[in-house]
Symmetry: C2
Subunit: 220 residues, 2 copies
Amino acid sequence: VGLPGTNEVEMLQEIVSFIASEEDVPICIDSSNPIAIEAALKVAPGKPIINSVTGEEASLSAILPLAKEYETAIIGLTMGNGGISRDPERRLEIAETIIERALRIGISIEDIIIDPLVLSVATETQGALETLATIALIKEKLGVNINIGASNVSFGFPTRQTINEAFLALAAGSGANCVITNPRSHFLSIRSIDILLGRDPYGANYVQHYRKLKKQSTTE
Amino acid sequence: VGLPGTNEVEMLQEIVSFIASEEDVPICIDSSNPIAIEAALKVAPGKPIINSVTGEEASLSAILPLAKEYETAIIGLTMGNGGISRDPERRLEIAETIIERALRIGISIEDIIIDPLVLSVATETQGALETLATIALIKEKLGVNINIGASNVSFGFPTRQTINEAFLALAAGSGANCVITNPRSHFLSIRSIDILLGRDPYGANYVQHYRKLKKQSTTE
């Protein structure tokens, strides 16, 4: 909804209202405009997620109070005034800043989700490795929830899903536990990672979803 | 060729001869019978791999001299007299034993490939995690080549390829660099891991193989 020529404040609120009327799920609100975010929060059901706050002062002081007031979870992007650093240690520092500021105004640690940022490997050959190193570092030092925007990594490539699936496994293996992706594209691959990381004993959940998928494809 | 009722010594040699007459590639000889392995080595072209030696004395003293005499590479399975240990530290110890014995009779370190063993997650919920921990430990402590038999992990599941692909990415992320698998099943997924781990700058190799695959499917 943040396209040029649209009124983001009105449109974001309208779309959140519409989705809430159709689906009984919490909503992740993706905007950098605090006014649009607040308009959406007024109509969002349940406990939303705000996506996102950054380490920049203007963002911290505008977005974090909204998360506190509306009791939402919040995604913190590890970028600051200098943009996106290539150095995992610097991204860790920004995560620490966001967490410290959020805790200070009373947001709970379990409601803070850090996003270590994913660059396309089509332009940055070491980009995925840097993200994986950042995930492992944040997991080890801070132990918070970690989100990735999985599909960014393959921007510019053919057969993006193949690359995305490998990246999802690598990121989960490094410690990421949230993902922004099309759930229909990765219906079984995400659940196969759960089996492999010991989170789905005997694959019971995997097999249940496999049967659901098979039933759907037979019915269609 | 190790089925009951077959003469493994004759059949392994015959099959290796046949493959060598059809394809110009080095061969990985999979047997635990030293007599069958030697019969095959006599007709194998180029530099074969022997799969495998274990940490058991009977295996070490029978197989390692063959690897030395025929100048092959060798896969060492991290299992000893007590079978397969669930403990990554114990598997590391067995890898150390195999490497020490191999180096002592003059096999080069780059010709030693350690296989940390993969159990099916259908019966061992922590099995993949144990293998991943073993891979990371062997990589860190010993720095040798590491092989996995990727498809074992999904034995007993439907849509095994989905699980195998996630496991390949997790294993490569932990440090595995060799794999026993059907290369046709993982034509692009293995190459996507290379991009993500920074081993294929700008995905040049990936895109080349993607085009080859596309051309084949158009021709068929």
